[in-house]
Symmetry: C2
Subunit: 376 residues, 2 copies
């Protein structure tokens, strides 16, 4: 598990800045990683990620497995060689995706059996199989197999998931050869403090290269997530990167960073773009709204992305109205750049000791993320 170096470089209360050196890129933290599930950003080429300032993307072992690309990727020499991306990949185990299959999967103590949503083939993930796949994929960061539970959940269900997640984590480390990529362990436990703390203690006692908080942003209220992060992030080792999985809401990002989280990933920037919603520092902007008709303003004044430098809200609205996918392409470019700038803002605020002000500013711009609503 070589190929990773992490150091914290500053802090503001519980928030911290850091530098994560990976085999193919350096990540200034807190950082966001765009999602490239199948080894490709939705609608965009890798150039768009680079232009927005991203050097680390997230891919998914579950999706790469069901698209039956595994043998090709192995033959190519890994996910970077196969996809042509010369930055870093973090490859998720796909635990979350498998558990989302509901009636089409069966969990036992040794792993999870599921039917491919693509062609119905029966497939099986075990902790060892995921480590084998990750060793074949050779990403710069690899997630182990965990058991993720949708919320709300009964205590026995959460309890079982925490136990399995710990046992699977240990088995993952046992299965890792010298050729394995740096592995991250995942903390589960839902909203149950005792279970979270048990999972935290057990997982962080193992020699993982970094630690992730899983099983959040799965249906709970924002406030409940922040409460879990209060004690979970605080208990995570200071000298290892802390990764909050699946979170991309601007308020969630600043709140989690304030609690000491270093890394984020989410489909939100690109998925919202396809749904015609732009993120800005002034809040969400619905680009299908008639009020943008004829507007000669950019999506966000002061934004340095290709979309904002070259195109008007009126034109973007027209593209969505005319059914031109290029509207979603341009909005994806903007939303990725917005998210990169949000992270720059977080890091700058931490360095300057002004994160409280920055948090207040983002909370004000995104009031809908502050209610007791679920994070969709």
């Amino acid at each position: 598990m070589n190929g990773m170096r992490f150091e914290t470089t500053g802090n503001d209360d519980n928030a911290r800045t850091g530098r994560l050196e990976l085999r193919r890129a350096v990540l200034e933290t807190p950082a966001f990683m765009p999602v490239a599930t199948n080894g490709s950003l939705k609608l965009l080429t890798f150039r768009a990620a680079e232009d927005a300032g991203f050097r680390v993307l997230l891919a998914n072992a579950f999706h790469l497995s069901i698209s039956a690309a595994m043998d090709e990727i192995a033959a190519a020499g890994g996910v970077n060689a196969f996809t042509g991306w010369d930055g870093s990949f973090l490859v998720d185990s796909g635990g979350f995706q498998v558990y989302s299959l509901a009636e089409n999967r069966r969990i036992d103590d040794n792993g999870v059996t599921f039917r491919s949503p693509r062609d119905g083939t029966e497939m099986r993930f075990t902790p060892e199989e995921i480590v084998r796949i990750q060793t074949m994929l050779q990403p710069d960061i690899a997630m182990v197999l965990d058991e993720c539970v949708a919320l709300p959940a009964e205590k026995p269900v959460l309890e079982k998931a925490v136990e399995r997640t710990s046992r699977w984590a240990a088995r993952s480390l046992d299965a890792a050869t010298d050729a394995a990529p740096p592995l991250f362990g995942i903390i589960q436990g839902g909203l149950d403090r005792a279970l979270r703390e048990k999972s935290l203690k057990e997982i962080t006692a193992m020699p993982f290269a970094g630690f992730a908080v899983g099983g959040l942003s799965v249906g709970e209220a924002h406030g409940d997530m922040y409460e879990v992060l209060d004690y979970t992030a605080a208990g995570m080792p200071e000298d290892r990167p802390r990764y909050l999985m699946g979170v991309g809401d601007p308020v969630d990002i600043v709140e989690a960073a304030a609690r000491g989280i270093d890394m984020f990933d989410c489909v939100m920037p690109t998925r919202n773009a396809r749904g015609a919603t732009a993120f800005t520092f002034g809040g969400k902007v619905r680009m299908k709204n008639a009020c943008h008709r004829g507007s000669n303003q950019p999506i966000e004044a002061g934004c340095d992305c290709y979309c904002c430098k070259k195109f008007t809200r009126g034109y973007i609205r027209h593209l969505f109205a005319a059914g031109e996918a290029t509207g979603a392409v341009l909005l994806s470019v903007h939303n990725l750049r917005f998210t990169a700038r949000l992270m720059e803002g977080v890091r700058e605020a931490i360095r300057g000791g002004t994160l409280a002000d920055f948090r207040a500013r983002i909370r004000q711009a995104y009031p809908e993320s502050m209610g007791n609503t679920t994070n969709t």
Copy 2:
């Protein structure tokens, strides 16, 4: 009708090279113009057109009208200001699109009434209205309203269309103020030599900035199209650009260029890309074919596009198999660049006096375009 200067710079038999200076760009001819119907390339940003070497795009007054963007475009100051494209636009009148509506349009001697395929609104195009719209859009080249007939067609139908097209052409010129963009007249007549020659004579007698051959590539065999071009292109004024509308098949392009055509447009490069077909100098390549699985070869060796420089056939095939639109994005990038390189090849061959060899090479690579099949 200022803002255009054309000169021929060389020839090889009937083929010629030329230089068309437009208000916003210079077109080295023979040239291809990618289609940006609604003021946007399908799936791509304008950067992709620029990267492929294109400075002139085609937009469509019919599509811009039904997407109800006209008043916005007028308020913005024209189609360039509205879309942010700083190269040239050629704006088609939409005659072809209106006639494609079949039972939802009614033609009379004064114009055509149709129902918007978008919301059913009744709309009307007259020659004067199209000139008014074009003056509002301010493209670098504007097409007049013509009557395009689907083939095969009865002689009386073609006859009527030729008559109307000539009358409408004269009315268009009468309606054009000093503020009108350079107008191109359109020659009709289907596959009927007498009617084509009548249309050719009448249209080219009028002081248009350039002349187009319309009503081809609408269901006829390739050979029939070449026969029409033999006598039509030969009869078109030498000192004006000659534009063959809606043609983008590689063999059709070289055959038409050999007959003296200077300009082309077609949806083929981007539409074929969305259908997973790549154009190469070795012929069409179907990227969904299993034979590309695991291939570490580029779409086309020696191609300098982003897709060929960075990605393998195996990866592109995987993207299509996984349902990732980025596959179509990358293939669109390649097909546009292929078409630009095809035109570079045509110009170079004309300059070097080797067009016959180049034609033979393209015909050999695309045998399916040489049969007595329709051009789809």
